[in-house]
Symmetry: C2
Subunit: 605 residues, 2 copies
């Protein structure tokens, strides 16, 4: 009943027509050979794996769930086999360095792959999903010896990885964590402590598991400046000798709302042997390489979920007959009812889903190109500027696309009505599975603070303004009638965003709490600048390529129209809230008026 068709045409539209990805990639020596043919081959194969292997396991994983008994975790039927097929096909190695067995392809292809994996099986995807962040973290920070020993196993997918950050009292605030690391004479450390919410902390699909663990060395300063990163394998690799079990054990798994197929483990480290990765006390910075990769990945997952939710909404809306259309074609005059897709309310839900997910796809593939540029471009300045822009856009992707994954799934349930609430149809599982994406890898509120404070206020808005300049220069190109309206709307939102953020930066100097109060509005406003820009470019591209495939490009133009008519108006609300807040803090009302109002009002009665 539940279906997924890899959205190859739209993916190609974004990769090729819109972004001209191969051109950007070919300017990077590492990707000089990557052409459109190669990319479409990879994309097609990825789509086949997702739809043929993973989708059928999605409901199984939800129903069976991961099980725990006496320290051992059993994954749902078929998960281990699918993972073996995944590795045999070389997917974990796709965008990794050939030095460690990688295929040396660009990360933009990983984004496409993971969009489709996440669309078809979010729980399963969490197993390999953490590999790439672990790879990036070790690649950048580990010693040559560790890299030599671990990276080939990670690149091949033979060993999976985890992020061991959270403790019961340290979630969003890692500065509170208590796990300890005691250096040993041989250069290793003994790690002790309890971690919770460790995805894939224990499982039965790989022979070894590589835990990346945050802990404190004995001489560590308090807070987040005293955290170090360690690599702690489940089995200690012997040099030719048999591997020995390390003293890290899974003490239980959580019963969760969704992603039942992914074991969320409590892990106990009991003088477990580990090795420092990177510098002492600088573990958080190293771990953030992994965290940023995970944030992008979870945003990509949101796009995938929104896509599959849309496809199943559309299929049902075309088939389900209820009520007569307001304007019926003569051919249906004798029918008792019309497909619900003819009803404007259903059309609105479908178009909301479609516009957000196609916009999200443009945004995440564009950002993946930034990632490839940041990692591999020969020019240090180009690398640096791509990196800064990616840092700016990462929290937007994480927050807005996970929000949309959840809302898109919920809108699918709405279109399916009562049938969507029933477990068998598969819709409600997506609502449950997608809900965690708004929480993990930094809550969406933390993303907003990250963008507003660390990415905008901290550099006086410089990096943001460079992006806004680029958007304005696209928007100022001459265009004919319809598209000129979109360009004008894009310029308007950019100008208003420039003004609003500049006011926020000003107010922040005297009322530091204010940018925090409107961080979510700030994030969504900047996000809309990016979406307006991408939809303008999509409309330009669709117009230029129209005759190659008129129905596809008409649909793209109509979706752009939908963005400007129905979605972009959210900025009116955002700007009004920002304006109200700035006015209140600037007026004769006491400093941080809203903070006071809020603290008055949050008292229970």
């Amino acid at each position: 009943m539940f279906t997924y068709q890899p959205p190859l045409k739209d993916i190609q539209f974004v990769l090729t027509a819109l972004l001209n990805a191969s051109k950007t990639l070919n300017a990077i020596p590492a990707f000089a050979e990557v052409d459109n043919d190669l990319m479409s081959q990879v994309v097609e194969q990825a789509g086949r794996f997702a739809s043929e292997i993973l989708l059928p396991l999605n409901a199984v994983g939800d129903r069976e769930g991961a099980r725990f008994h006496d320290g051992v975790v059993t994954t749902p039927t078929g998960f281990a086999t699918a993972y073996k097929q995944f590795c045999d096909a070389g997917w974990p190695a796709l965008a990794r360095d050939p030095q460690y067995g990688g295929q040396g392809l660009p990360q933009i292809l990983d984004s496409v792959l993971y969009e489709m994996l996440g669309a078809t099986n979010t729980a399963w995807t969490m197993f390999p999903g953490l590999l790439h962040g672990a790879y990036a973290c070790l690649y950048q920070h580990a010693s040559a010896e560790i890299k030599e020993r671990y990276l080939p196993e990670i690149v091949s997918g033979r060993w999976l990885a985890t992020m061991c950050l959270t403790e019961s009292n340290a979630g969003s605030d890692l500065g509170l964590l208590r796990s300890k690391a005691v250096p040993q004479a041989d250069g290793s450390c003994k790690i002790s402590g309890n971690k919770i919410f460790i995805s894939g902390g224990e499982q039965d699909i790989t022979e070894n598991i590589v835990h990346l663990v945050l802990a404190r060395l004995p001489d560590a300063p308090k807070g987040s400046k005293g955290i170090s990163l360690f690599i702690v394998p489940k089995f200690l690799p012997g040099d030719g000798t048999p591997e020995t079990r390390n003293t890290v054990t899974c003490t239980g798994i959580e019963h969760k709302m969704g992603i039942h197929g992914s074991p969320t483990c409590s892990m106990q480290f009991d003088d477990a042997t580990g090795w420092l990765v990177g510098e002492p006390h600088r573990g958080l910075a190293a771990m953030f390489v992994m965290m940023n990769a995970a944030r992008l990945a979870v945003g990509v997952n949101g796009v995938g979920i929104a896509e599959v939710a849309y496809q199943n909404s559309l299929a049902y809306a075309q088939e389900r007959l209820q009520m007569r259309a307001v304007e019926r074609p003569a051919s249906r005059k004798n029918e008792a009812a019309d497909p619900i897709i003819t009803h404007p309310a259903v059309q609105r839900l479908l178009m909301n889903q479609r516009t957000w997910l196609e916009g999200g796809r443009m945004l995440v593939y564009w950002s993946a190109l930034l990632l490839d540029t940041a990692h591999h471009h020969p020019e240090p300045r180009t690398r640096k500027s791509a990196e800064a822009r990616l840092a700016l856009i990462t929290p937007i992707i994480k927050s807005m696309m996970t929000e949309q994954g959840f809302q898109g799934a919920s809108q699918a349930l709405q279109i399916w009505g009562g049938h969507g609430y029933i477990a068998e149809t598969g819709i409600e599982q997506y609502v449950r599975d997608s809900r965690i994406t708004m929480v993990y890898e930094g809550t969406n509120e933390i993303q907003a603070v990250d963008l507003s404070l660390r990415k905008i206020v901290s550099d006086g808005g410089q990096c943001l303004n460079e992006l806004l300049n680029e958007i304005e220069s696209t928007a100022s190109l001459p265009r004919e009638a319809a598209l000129a309206g979109y360009a004008q709307a894009t310029q308007e939102v950019v100008q208003r965003t420039r003004k609003a953020t500049s006011n926020i930066i000003k107010v922040a100097a005297s009322h530091p709490v204010v940018p925090y109060q409107i961080a979510t509005e700030t994030l969504r406003l900047v996000g809309h600048c990016a979406f307006a820009w991408l939809w303008l470019r999509a409309a330009d591209t669709a117009q230029a390529n129209h005759d190659k495939d008129p129905p596809f490009h008409d649909a793209k133009l109509a979706t752009a129209e939908y963005y400007y008519s129905f979605i972009l108006p959210e900025t009116e609300q955002l700007l009004r809230v920002i304006d109200n807040t700035l006015k209140n803090s600037a007026s004769g009302k006491p400093t941080a008026f809203l903070a006071k109002a809020i603290s008055d009002a949050i008292r229970p009665d």
Copy 2:
């Protein structure tokens, strides 16, 4: 871990200070004796039942679920006992006619009761929740004989009731239903057909079940004008002789996302004996008495869910220590972290929850007074006008408050973070349970069409304008500084709504599809007029009563401020979308431009 404190103070604020409910009620002879003391006694006892009896069964019901075996449904542990206690305390009889054993109290007290029942156990509340609609439907439409036989059993709660509407091909569109009724010589009918999604269709908590069933008589016209209503008991009441089992059976129950404790039954009627209620072929109108009661009830449930979600968000936010506040009090300088309630992002989530739920409470209690007036006021004109206003407001309550129940629960999960996603904490159950309220008793999209087309366009906006006039006359009263700003904002939104709806009515004449396209925006815009009005009155009331309880009234004023600063700005977005749509349909673009754009864009690729 999961808590619920009956929000008695806020309930009293709305009933007494804001609405002066006893004054309105005392003008109705049936309620001449209802005073504030009586009302607060009832409210307190209701709160005790909900928090002491129902809350502890909420997680049990979710975990065990209703079970089905061979036609028999077993409800979760404790559900039957709680229901017996509920009946013994006389709760089903509260607002029913003394002629049938009722207590003759006003329905506003039922609203308070059901807010608290829904807050503590939505699944359980579905059992008695349908009683009152069945009562109202039979009370208004059944023969004296049926009323005599059934109403006392329903009023006492000894027999429960169901709404048997949906069939697999007839959900939102009841005109498609196929169940048949064949009249018999003795005045009864033989009912045959299959119904799905019947809440409480079978259960083990009452000895008999009264099904209200829609079916077609042999001479019925096609579509919705050929549907009749029948009463079909599980056991046929004998006159002194033993009761005989009717030929209606439960063939299975659904596995659902939530409300596991409420059995959602497939029912087979196999020449079952029933009796016509009301006139032949007019069953839909009679059933809509029950449906409208159910729509109000599900909106009330949304308020309850939003309240309990808020309370548990607040408790956790006060206790959970993560990160340091932007502005820390000197007393906490040496602490490693502050309660998350000090973080603006969490304050925003809490205030969103609080503002919507307290606004919702004002709206539903106010509408319950309209219901009491519509049913019992001695003046026919007053009854009629209350009825029209209630009809206008019902879809707003159903749609906006179920949306907020779900979003409020989801925001609670967000505040609880990873812990909120874990089943044991009880938060995620509310997200799952609340999701169905946006679907059943008419999807929220159907509510929007009902308001926009049947309640606004159909009477040329007259009933709406009467409400808007009343809001404006409240807003035009003289006020001092701060509150004058709220009054001005209220007037502004009313004026813009008047203009927008009048434009919609005009466009509807030439482009009938347009009001459907922006029905949700229209509903939310009108809803904000009501919320702005109620928050203005709440602020007035809080100011007038300030000295009686300064902390409570300061909090109320701060919440009003929050409404105007952060929530009302949604109307900017709504108005822009409405405006864009009207402009498109009025411009040189083809008629119903968006319908075309949408139908272009919804093609799969």
